[in-house]
Symmetry: C2
Subunit: 338 residues, 2 copies
């Protein structure tokens, strides 16, 4: 599976993202200009708060997907810029609400918007950005696009609610977990890629291929994220280890460890994740148990499987820099784990 790109990556995988950003540099600058323009408001707290999260080191993976997918489909117009900004606004609104729901104090290594500005403006500015996303779609003028992104937004919210329900429930199945991450993460990846085929007016088979690429990449991405949350690699990437653990989130490494564990281990998991009765040493024990059962590695293996599906979905597109870049993005996702 390892490719030249994968091996070239530095320890944080930054070079892959840099190269992707370089490939769509001009379009991405236009997207960033549009984002800054559309997050403005006479109510100055809105651009302050939105600017904090939008400027704080996001990799712009989702808008890059729209830009690259459009180029892969031979698109030469400008619609992809507005739609990429719309996708990023939906993502940002979701992040703001997520951080409120998760009571997160950190986002990308910086203070989260809710920690800095409070929960209340984070909820309301999320609503504002969500509305702006729809205004950008209306400006684009395609009911098909509006249908795709409004459905994606509803599915994301459903996924987030489902995640909330399965939190602290150690009986959560791998299937439920997959349902959650497909909805909360993969749906927007899928839509972001699909938009590329739509603006280029490509046939349904290509639209579906890009959807499949995006969906599988999104699942891959979230699986690796959830594996990293228990991995020392996370610290190298500048993020805290054990966030999911502290919130009692049932992610795949834990779901597998619970099922493979002894009755005594399961009772430990119930205490720390269901009762959220955690003290010093509990996170270390969790990591040791995941290690004993090899579940972080198995989660990454599952991710690799979805990565293969994502790469295969690109097969019907012509060779070229965009196709290579989208394939490298798959490698990048998994490479973050090492």
């Amino acid at each position: 599976m390892a490719t030249v790109a994968g091996r070239e990556d530095d320890r944080t995988g930054q070079s892959t993202i840099d190269r992707l950003q370089a490939l769509v540099a001009e379009d991405l600058r236009a997207v960033n200009r549009l984002i800054v323009d559309k997050m403005d408001s006479p109510v100055s707290l809105i651009p302050q708060l939105a600017g904090h999260i939008i400027a704080s080191g996001g990799k712009r993976v989702r808008p890059i997907l729209t830009l690259l997918a459009a180029k892969l489909c031979g698109y030469t117009g400008q619609r992809h810029v507005g739609l990429a900004a719309s996708v990023e606004f939906i993502h940002t609104a979701t992040l703001l609400h997520d951080d409120v729901v998760d009571e997160s104090l950190l986002r990308r290594g910086n203070a989260s918007a809710n920690a800095l500005f409070g929960n209340k403006p984070s909820v309301l500015v999320g609503d504002f950005l969500f509305s702006r996303a729809f205004q950008l779609m209306v400006a684009d003028g395609s009911l098909k696009v509006l249908g795709i992104l409004s459905e994606a937004a509803a599915v994301i919210a459903e996924g987030e609610v489902l995640q909330l329900i399965t939190a602290n429930d150690t009986t959560t199945s791998e299937e439920s977990y997959l349902e959650v991450i497909t909805a909360k993460t993969a749906k927007l990846f899928e839509a972001a890629c699909r938009l590329g085929a739509i603006v280029a007016e490509r046939p349904a088979v290509e639209e579906e291929a890009l959807q499949a690429y995006g969906r599988n990449l999104g699942i891959d991405f979230q699986l690796v994220d959830d594996a990293l949350d228990y991995s020392a690699r996370q610290a190298v990437l500048g993020k805290a280890v054990g966030d999911d653990f502290r919130e009692g989130k049932l992610t795949l490494p834990v779901i597998l460890a619970y099922r493979r564990g002894s009755e005594e281990e399961r009772s430990y998991w119930r205490r720390v994740l269901e009762d959220v009765d955690q003290s010093d040493g509990d996170l270390d024990r969790a990591i040791a148990l995941l290690d004993r059962h090899g579940t972080v590695a198995d989660t990454v293996e599952r991710a690799r499987h979805y990565g293969i599906l994502a790469r295969d979905a690109l097969d019907l597109f012509p060779e070229g820099v965009e196709k290579t870049a989208l394939a490298h993005l798959v490698d990048f996702c998994v490479s973050r784990a090492f």
Copy 2:
């Protein structure tokens, strides 16, 4: 100003709303069916929570406005039903997020969704309903409608953020206050009415007249609401008195009393609203101060002014039951204060 309808009203004004609901009874049933249908989700917490707020005694004022405005314009199709449901979903999403932001424990005399289900699902189900509102608009298929409601949603969020900023600030001006209520309340009233002219494909002058009716009615409505929050009438209507006071919200009765007050009174207002340092007897003193300066009555007088503007905006429409009903709704708004 008092009309037959106004005088006929029972003490809660319920008969006016009953008659309005009766006038669009069949359409309103269709709206309610659509609401129940579209709030459904395999994630059962979503219809549970959404059902709690949607079923809990809302008067459906905004969807009724869309239905009545469409009928006033002679519309005989079915588009107004879906759009009325969309308007109610936007309103409900806003209520869910408002209650989280305001930390309200009561809504329409019942436990609020956040009190019953927690803040987290309230935020996420709000997002879900907001997305559903857009899906309903997409099903309607008009980019103009999508533009109007996505802009309204952005303006509502701006108004809510502005309200948050002016909370606890006793120097808030009447102009800032008007800006907040025009955005957070009147904008959706305005859009709800405008949709009636749009589905009936009426000329711009009628669209604008219905917008003016809705906007002024919305300002009227919110002014009376804010007056009632300090009025014994509130208790008759089954709501708690002093919610705005406890939250340190700067509404017009207080804004006027602060400006008219002595230095000693202003120092009291700063303690209770800026520092939110409140103890027994403080609400009573607030009500006594508002009474001394006559600011609740003056707030209702301001409301009456906007009510007159709303009624006048109806002038160019032909006489008929719908026009009479919309005029009665204005009387109802002000009559709640007595």
